[in-house]
């Protein structure tokens, strides 16, 4: 691959997706400028615990296949994901694991020295590779080390403590192309333009829109929101995953990995409400293992949205929660403590440190919390070589899978537009890419989608800058005026915020950015998580309009021109409010229930009306909810035919758990 020396790529975000992209692009000979708000080693990907999915030799001999991994992901996501990219990801997965293994990730091992495997939600096969209960951290470190190697060779330049402010876009309409970014140094506060022939957004999710979530403090969704406001489309915003098992805290909700259930953890409450005996004193027959009872096949390993709704139903509607609160037991005490330390040490320690009980001997008390955004920036792809004459059903274990695991079946390798947003040259990788998880993400598929995007779609970026529009018209050759204008626009926003510092108004809660953020988080958690209703969502949209109005006269608490964290936070609150509106409006207009999106007033999946991707376009001239134009685009279901998503539930037809009231996940305790 020959490229002009002036070609450069910017990667924004240094989590798994950003680092995988940086490594692949730098390796191909294109220098990378890597921007991150934190030293990349501290990115949110370190919080991932349970593992990473891939078909493997053992599972294959038991009848599993890449195709089945693909099918599980589509079924888990309730058919909302376009099928080509998911097939390609599943087919690629074993290659991703092998690469991580070569990089030295300390995957847990079997006695003979092979990579160990565990069960995870949405599958009856062991296809999850893991490194204790800190798999994300271990994968991050491996990619961080490889990135450091390229950095030492001068092929990756890091800009840490840099905040992405705006994509620089030239041209209009269909001919828009991203040619750089504006970023602010979080210490010197200098606002600068950086040119690039392509920009990869790898900026993760938006958990902070919900106040307390399992996300890290920088996961505001601010970067995605800014791209959206600059014209990139945002897709399926309403698809927010609420993880069933977390510990509510004063500052965040701490995740207790699905691997706890994968390793045998059982969810239960006492059969008698108000039974306040110690859990160990409650005999087996007086415990209600409600997930195992309702889903005899998958048991505790039903997908997250289902487990979440069941736990919510037990606590909120049936008032059966432990100690009459919003909590259920996640019990591992029947397992050997030494085994638990080896397989789950990381989360055992977190629980013990923050709650004070040792989960090896006392069942954990957990409740659902906002965890992941399936929605994100809308991206394109070029379909791969597979063209079915007819759709396929579920792969029957032991039979030949309908589609083999070769590269290029689902997506065309190296096509310029794979994972490219509607703006040429602006890509979205990892959680901020909406493409893979539909209406619910299966556990241990997130790490996979991040690294797959980086490696597979990284090639698309390289091909685009070397043979696409930038090869004719490199960013380096463009008039400086465009870049200067973008910098002064951003500097103007910074100055306006700095000028809002006003000691006379400092104590006014109405315009306090922290207060606005708390109210947004509480509202979004109450209305836009486990159970949604049209009535409640309408109120939310009004509340968000009120918060936006208050934000318009927000009062910053710090006028410092050096390391002003208050400025960065306050700016992100404005961007989060925009995303919150996209999420709320998408939730209101999707009058059906699908995956994580459960509408009490529309409890059935409605393929006729809503087997469609929600696409939000921002209109800078619009006010309040009118600023977001929502359209719906058909989902590609050419490979697998949609079927009812029941997970073998015994008591009823194909419908999700019943629930009465809007949720208060995460905020409860």
């Amino acid at each position: 691959m020959v490229n002009k020396p002036e070609s450069r790529v910017i990667v924004v975000g240094g989590g798994l997706a950003g680092l995988a992209a940086s490594i692949r692009i730098a390796e191909s000979g294109v220098p990378v400028d890597l921007f991150s708000m934190v030293p990349v080693k501290r990115s949110h990907s370190v919080c991932a615990q349970g593992g990473i999915n891939a078909c493997n030799d053992v599972a294959r001999q038991q009848g599993y296949s890449e195709y089945q991994h693909f099918d599980e992901t589509i079924y888990g996501g309730d058919y909302l994901a376009d099928q080509g990219p998911v097939l390609e990801m599943a087919n690629w997965a074993p290659r991703v694991i092998n690469l991580l293994d070569r990089m030295g990730v300390p995957f847990n091992r079997t006695g003979e020295g092979f990579r160990d495997l565990r069960l995870f939600g949405g599958s009856l096969f062991k296809r999850t590779h893991f490194s204790g209960a800190t798999t994300g951290q271990q994968l991050m470190y491996a990619l961080d080390e490889q990135t450091r190697r390229f950095e030492a060779e001068g092929r990756v330049t890091k800009y840490e403590f840099s905040e992405f402010l705006w994509p620089i876009v030239e041209g209009d309409g269909e001919n828009k192309r991203c040619v750089g970014i504006v970023a602010q140094d979080m210490r010197t506060m200098q606002v600068r333009a950086f040119r690039a022939d392509a920009v990869v957004m790898a900026t993760g999710g938006c958990g902070l829109v919900f106040g307390k979530s399992t996300n890290s403090v920088m996961c505001t969704g601010g970067a995605a929101s800014r791209c959206y406001q600059a014209g990139a489309w945002y897709a399926n915003g309403e698809m927010i995953q609420v993880h069933p098992t977390a510990i509510p805290g004063a500052d965040k909700c701490r995740l207790m990995s699905e691997s706890a259930r994968g390793e045998g953890g059982r969810v239960w409450v006492p059969r008698t409400a108000g039974d306040n005996r110690k859990p160990a004193d409650i005999p087996e027959g007086e415990r209600w293992y409600f997930l195992e009872e309702k889903y005899p096949g998958y048991g505790n390993l039903v997908p997250r949205d289902i487990a979440t709704r069941e736990i919510f139903d037990v606590c909120v509607n049936q008032n059966m929660g432990v100690d009459a609160g919003n909590q259920v037991y996640l019990d591992l005490t029947h397992k050997d403590p030494e085994y638990l330390t080896r397989k789950l040490g990381g989360i055992m320690d977190i629980y013990e440190k923050f709650v004070g009980d040792d989960p090896r001997y006392t069942p954990m008390k957990i409740f659902p919390a906002v965890h992941y955004s399936m929605g994100g920036l809308w991206t394109k792809f070029t379909p791969g070589s597979y063209r079915p004459n007819a759709q396929h059903g579920l792969h029957k274990p032991g039979q030949v899978p309908p589609i083999d695991g070769e590269i290029g079946r689902g997506m065309s390798p190296g096509a310029h537009d794979n994972a490219m947003t509607n703006i040429d040259g602006l890509y979205a990788f990892g959680e901020v890419n909406f493409a893979y998880h539909g209406a619910t993400r299966l556990g241990a598929n997130a790490l996979l989608s991040c690294i797959f995007d980086g490696l597979f779609c990284g090639n698309s970026v390289v091909n685009f800058v070397t043979a696409g529009a930038p090869s004719e018209r490199p960013a380096a050759s463009l008039d400086q005026r465009l870049f200067d204008e973008c910098v002064s626009a951003e500097q103007g926003k910074v100055d306006r915020l700095l000028q809002s510092v006003d000691s006379a108004r400092a104590a006014d809660e109405a315009t306090n950015p922290y207060r606005i953020a708390i109210e947004m988080g509480e509202e979004m958690t109450a209305a836009c998580t486990v159970v949604k209703t049209g009535e409640r969502l309408t109120k939310t949209i009004d509340k968000l309009a009120e918060l936006r109005e208050r934000y318009a006269s927000v009062c910053l608490g710090d006028s410092a021109t050096w390391t002003n964290q208050s400025l960065s936070f306050t700016r992100s609150v404005g961007d989060m409010l925009i995303l919150a509106e996209v999420i709320a409006k998408g939730s209101l207009q999707r009058e059906e229930s699908r995956g994580s999106h459960y509408r009490l007033d529309f409890p059935e999946r409605d393929d006729e009306r809503f087997l469609k991707t929600t696409i939000a376009e921002f209109d800078p001239a619009g006010t309040g909810p009118e600023a977001h134009r929502l359209t719906y685009r058909d989902v590609d279901t050419t490979l697998v035919k949609p079927r009812p998503r029941t997970y073998g539930r015994v008591d009823a037809k194909a419908e999700p758990a019943k629930a009465k009231a809007p949720a208060t996940a995460g905020a409860a305790s």
Binding site: H44, V46, N98, G104, S503
Partner: protein
């Protein structure tokens, strides 16, 4: 008001039991506008909530930065990320001892109304502002130690080497290092150095020595073993360790740092002897 100290594990458990929510606790915070600028202390009173940690107290202060004397001040600046002790960002000196602030529970440190918790930035790194320090040097040390596996490239080339569960267990324990810098803050041999030109010759630190061991334990990582040992044999390497053993006591991940230092010390000696006899290089 009890004197500021670091509670033992037994005290922490007892404190947690007796602490009542809704009491007012005082945070005494060292403020500083930047490296080389004068520092001063400010007190803030915070009403506790169940499960409150130092981070959530700092969040309350940021939302309404009014000191105990009632004067409005600027929000305190601090570094944080995951808030569950896996990213290393929120490391600071609390009651005189370095640790992560996310896992520091207010009930454990200040069980009575009026109890004081002191927060200071780490002293071995330049202050950016208030509690936020610049730990770039720590990552630079990982370059010195060539802390990576030299793979051929990212294209498919089969799986990595097989590994025994024991070896994996050893490597995993070392690989949990989150580059927080606790071991450096506690080390008498590691001193602040803001001239980055001198980083290559100043003490590399326990974390990087342990990472060198981690990668020497990997079948492919081993290919760079002699480079790593060369780095550890030179100025600022493993022989600068004064054996105070503070590092291992403050490591939040219980990484066997002194074991790593001893192992690397022996490996460097063998490396030197070999080099002498083979006069390679």
């Amino acid at each position: 008001m009890s004197a500021v100290h670091v509670p033992s594990e037994t005290e922490r458990i007892a404190n947690r039991k007796k602490a009542k929510p809704g009491r007012t606790v005082r945070f005494r915070i060292k403020r500083c506008a930047g490296h080389g600028k004068p520092a001063s202390w400010e007190d803030f009173d915070v009403v506790t909530e169940p499960g409150m940690n130092v981070i959530s107290a700092l969040q309350r202060i940021a939302a309404n930065p009014v000191t105990s004397e009632g004067s409005r001040t600027t929000p305190v600046v601090w570094d944080s990320g995951c808030l569950e002790e896996v990213c290393g960002a929120c490391t600071m000196v609390i009651n005189g001892r370095v640790r992560q602030s996310c896992s520091c529970l207010v009930d454990e440190y200040a069980p009575e109304a009026g109890d004081v918790i002191t927060l200071e930035p780490m002293s071995k790194f330049p202050v950016v502002r208030d509690l936020w320090v610049d730990r770039q040097r720590l990552f630079h040390s990982l370059k010195r130690a060539k802390a990576w596996v030299p793979i051929d490239g990212t294209y498919a080339a089969g799986s990595g080497p097989k590994e025994s569960p024991d070896r994996q267990g050893t490597r995993y324990a070392l690989s949990e290092c989150m580059s927080c810098g606790c071991c450096l803050e506690a080390c008498p041999q590691f001193t602040i150095e803001d001239d980055d030109a001198k980083w290559d010759e100043s003490f590399i630190g326990a974390h990087a020595i342990s990472q060198a061991r981690l990668f020497n334990l990997h079948d492919t990582g081993k290919r760079l073993e002699s480079d790593r040992l060369e780095a550890l044999a030179s100025k600022g390497g493993v022989s600068d360790c004064g054996n105070a053993q503070n590092c291992v006591k403050v490591c939040p991940k219980h990484i066997p740092l002194t074991e790593s230092i001893a192992a690397m010390g022996r490996a460097v000696t063998i490396h030197r002897v070999k080099k002498f006899f083979t006069s390679k290089k």
